[in-house]
Amino acid sequence: MEILQLLISGLANGCVYGLIALGFVLIYKATEAVNFAQGDIMVLGAFVTIGLTNAEHMGLPFWAALPVSIALLAGFGYLVERLLIRPMFGQSQTAVVILTIALGFVIRFAVGLIWGHDPQTLQNPLAGRDLALAGLVLGLEDVAVIVVTLLLTGSLFAFFSRTRLGLAMQAASQNQLAAYYMGIPVRRVQGLVWALAGAVACIAGILFAAKGAVDPSTGLMGIKAFAAAVIGGFGSLPGALLGGLIVGVIEPFASRYIAAGYSQVVPYALLMAVLVFRPHGLFSQMRSKKV
C-alpha cells in the first residue's frame, strides 16, 4: 500500500515535470531552440494566477482567473518570441540557449520583486480534499494534476500530428528554408509555438502551485524537467510526459529506499546516463547523419 501511495504522489509530481518538459519539447520541435527559461515561465504563470485569485491579492474567483492567466502567459510567450527570439533568427543555437538563460534570471528577479520571495500557495477549490479509493487516500489535487496532464498531452499530440498548423510547425523546425519555400510563414508559426508553450507553462504552474508552495527560485526545478525531456527524447511529446513520470516516480522511491545524500543525485545521474548511452532519448527520432 505504501508503494502505491508513493507511486501516486510520484506520478503527480512527474506530471508537473512532464508538463514543463512538454514546453521544452514544443519549442524544440517547432523552432529547434531550447528554452532554458521554461521553468521560470512556469513560476511566472503560477504567480500570475496567485496574484489574480488569492484573497490577499486581487481575490478573483478561481475559475474566472484561470483562463485570464493562461491567456496572459500565452501573450507573454508570444511577446518573448517577438521581442527577443525573432531578432536572433538565423543565429546559432548556443546564442539562443544563453539568451533564454538570461531571460530566466530576469523573470526570477521580476517575480521576486513583484510578489516577494516567500513561498506561496494557490488557493483553489480542490485544496485539502481527499479521495478515498479502496484504502488509498489520494489528494484531489493529485488526481486533477494527472487527469489534466494526460488530456493536455493527448490533445497536443493530436494537434502536432493531425492539424495543418501542427504539421507546419514540425516542418518549420526541420528545415527553415525549405519550409519557407513551401509557403509556411515560419516566423508567425514560431510566435504561435511560443505562445502555446507559455500557455502550457502556465497550466503547469497552476497545477504546481495548487499542489504545494512556489517561490521565485522554484524555476530551477526546470532542470529536472530537462532530465524528463532528455529521457523521453527531445523531439517527442509523449516521450516528454513519460520522461517526466519516470523522474517523478524515481524521486520518492529514491528518497525512501536510498541513503540520504545519494537520493537527490538519482535524477541527474539518470539524465547523464541516458545522455551517454542513448544520446537521443528513449524515443529517438535521430536517424543516421549524412553529410
Binding site: Q93, V97, I98, I101, A102, Y262
Partner: protein, 365 residues
C-alpha cells in the same frame, strides 16, 4: 590606419602585429605590475578577483569561444581545481608543485568526462554539463573525508620562495601571483591559437564537416579542447579557493557556471580580450550597482534597501541587450569603434555584418 607590409611567414604568425602594438601591451603589463603601488588594498583585492575570473574566462573561452562547445558546467572544474590544490597543499606538497598539478588533475578529469560527453551535440552537451554542475554540490558533500563536506575547507597560507602569500595578510604578493598566472595562461593561449591544435579548434567550431574533410580528428580535438579548457579553469579554481580563504560545497554552484558563460558572451566570444572585458564587467558590477543604488536612493525616497536577486536581474538584462544588439560582445563593439576611427570617414555600417545561417534540424539529417 597602420598598414603592416608582411614579408615572411614568421611575421605573419607572430603574436603581435607591429612594434606599436607590442609596446602598448608591454605598457599595459607594466601598469598591471605597478598596480599595488597605485591602488589601495580594497581595489587591489577587486582587481585580483577580476584577474582570477579572467583566467576562468580564458579557460571557458578555449572551449566555447574557439571550439564552439557551450559548457554550462565549468563551476564543477573550478571546484575540482580548488579542492585538488588544497588537498595537495595539505598533503605537504610545495605550492609550486601543487598548483600546476591541480590544473593537470582537473584537465585529466575534464578530458575523461569529455570522451562520453562530446559525442553529444550542441544543446545536449549544454544539458549534460549543466547536470554535472548540479551534481558537483552533492559529490562534494558525499566525498566528505577529502573535501570537508558541508563544513568546507580553509585555504592554508602558502609560502613562495620564502615570501608568505596570503590574500588578506599580503595582498600585493597574492596579486602578483595571480598576475603571473594570468600572463602565463594568456601567452599560452596566444601560442595555442597560432599552432595547428588551435587552428583545428577553430575549424571544428566553424564547420565540423569541413574540419573533418580537412583531416581534423573531431572527437580527439574536442576532447583535447575540453581537457585544456578544464586545466585552465582548474587553475582559476585553485586561485579562487586561495582568494576566498574558505569554501564549501555551495561555493561553486551552478550559478557560477552560468555566470562564467555569460561573462565570456558579454566580453565577446572567440577573443582573448573578451575574457578580460567580461571579467571586468562581472567583477565591478556589484560595486557599480551598490554605488548606483546609493546615488538613486534620494530620488526613489527609499533607503539603501537590499533587493535580493538584483545583481542577477541586471546581469540578465545586460546579457539580453548584448545578444540582441551586439552579439560580438564588448570586444566586438571596441573593434567597431576602433575601425570607425581608423577608417574615418570611410566606415560603412555593414562592415561587420555576419552571414545568417538557416537552421536545419539535428534530428532528421
Amino acid at each position: 590606419m597602420r598598414i603592416v607590409f608582411k614579408t615572411d611567414y614568421v611575421q605573419d604568425i607572430r603574436p603581435w602585429k607591429d612594434r606599436y602594438q607590442l609596446g602598448l601591451y608591454l605598457a599595459l603589463l607594466a601598469l598591471a605590475v605597478a598596480a599595488p603601488w597605485l591602488l589601495d588594498a580594497f581595489y587591489l583585492g577587486e582587481l585580483t578577483n577580476v584577474l582570477i575570473w579572467a583566467v576562468a574566462g580564458l579557460g571557458l573561452m578555449v572551449l566555447t569561444g574557439h571550439t564552439g562547445q557551450a559548457s554550462l558546467g565549468h563551476a564543477a572544474f573550478l571546484a575540482c581545481g580548488c579542492y585538488a590544490n588544497i588537498i595537495l597543499l595539505e598533503a605537504g606538497l610545495p605550492f609550486l608543485l601543487a598548483f600546476p598539478l591541480a590544473g593537470l588533475v582537473t584537465g585529466v578529469v575534464g578530458a575523461l568526462i569529455a570522451i562520453p560527453a562530446l559525442r553529444l551535440h550542441g544543446i545536449y552537451l549544454a544539458i549534460f554539463t549543466l547536470a554535472l554542475s548540479i551534481l558537483t554540490d552533492d559529490i562534494i558533500v558525499l566525498s566528505e573525508p577529502w573535501t570537508g563536506g558541508v563544513s568546507g575547507k580553509y585555504a592554508p597560507p602558502i609560502n613562495l620562495f620564502g615570501v608568505m602569500v596570503d590574500r588578506w595578510g599580503t595582498p600585493a604578493p597574492f596579486y602578483w601571483l595571480t598576475l603571473a598566472v594570468v600572463v602565463l595562461v594568456t601567452l599560452g593561449y596566444i601560442n595555442l591559437l597560432r599552432a595547428p591544435l588551435g587552428r583545428s579548434f577553430i575549424a571544428v567550431r566553424d564547420s565540423e564537416v569541413s574540419a573533418q574533410a580537412m583531416g581534423v580528428d573531431i572527437a580527439r580535438t574536442k576532447a583535447v579542447s575540453f581537457g585544456l579548457s578544464c586545466m585552465v579553469t582548474g587553475w582559476a579554481g585553485a586561485l579562487m579557493g586561495l582568494f576566498a580563504g574558505a569554501f564549501n560545497n555551495e561555493t561553486f554552484s551552478v550559478v557560477i557556471s552560468i555566470q562564467l558563460l555569460m561573462m565570456i558572451v558579454i566580453g565577446g566570444l572567440g577573443s582573448i580580450h573578451g575574457a578580460f572585458l567580461g571579467a571586468i564587467v562581472i567583477g565591478f558590477l556589484p560595486q557599480f550597482l551598490s554605488i548606483a543604488k546609493e546615488w538613486l536612493a534620494p530620488l526613489t525616497g527609499g533607503g539603501s534597501v537590499a533587493i535580493p536577486g538584483l545583481e542577477f536581474g541586471v546581469f540578465g538584462m545586460i546579457l539580453i541587450a548584448f545578444l540582441l544588439f551586439e552579439p560580438m560582445g564588448l570586444y566586438g563593439r571596441w573593434l567597431k569603434i576602433r575601425t570607425w576611427f581608423e577608417l574615418f570617414p570611410f566606415y560603412r555600417k555593414d562592415m561587420f555584418k555576419r552571414q545568417k545561417t538557416y537552421l536545419r534540424t539535428e534530428r532528421l539529417k
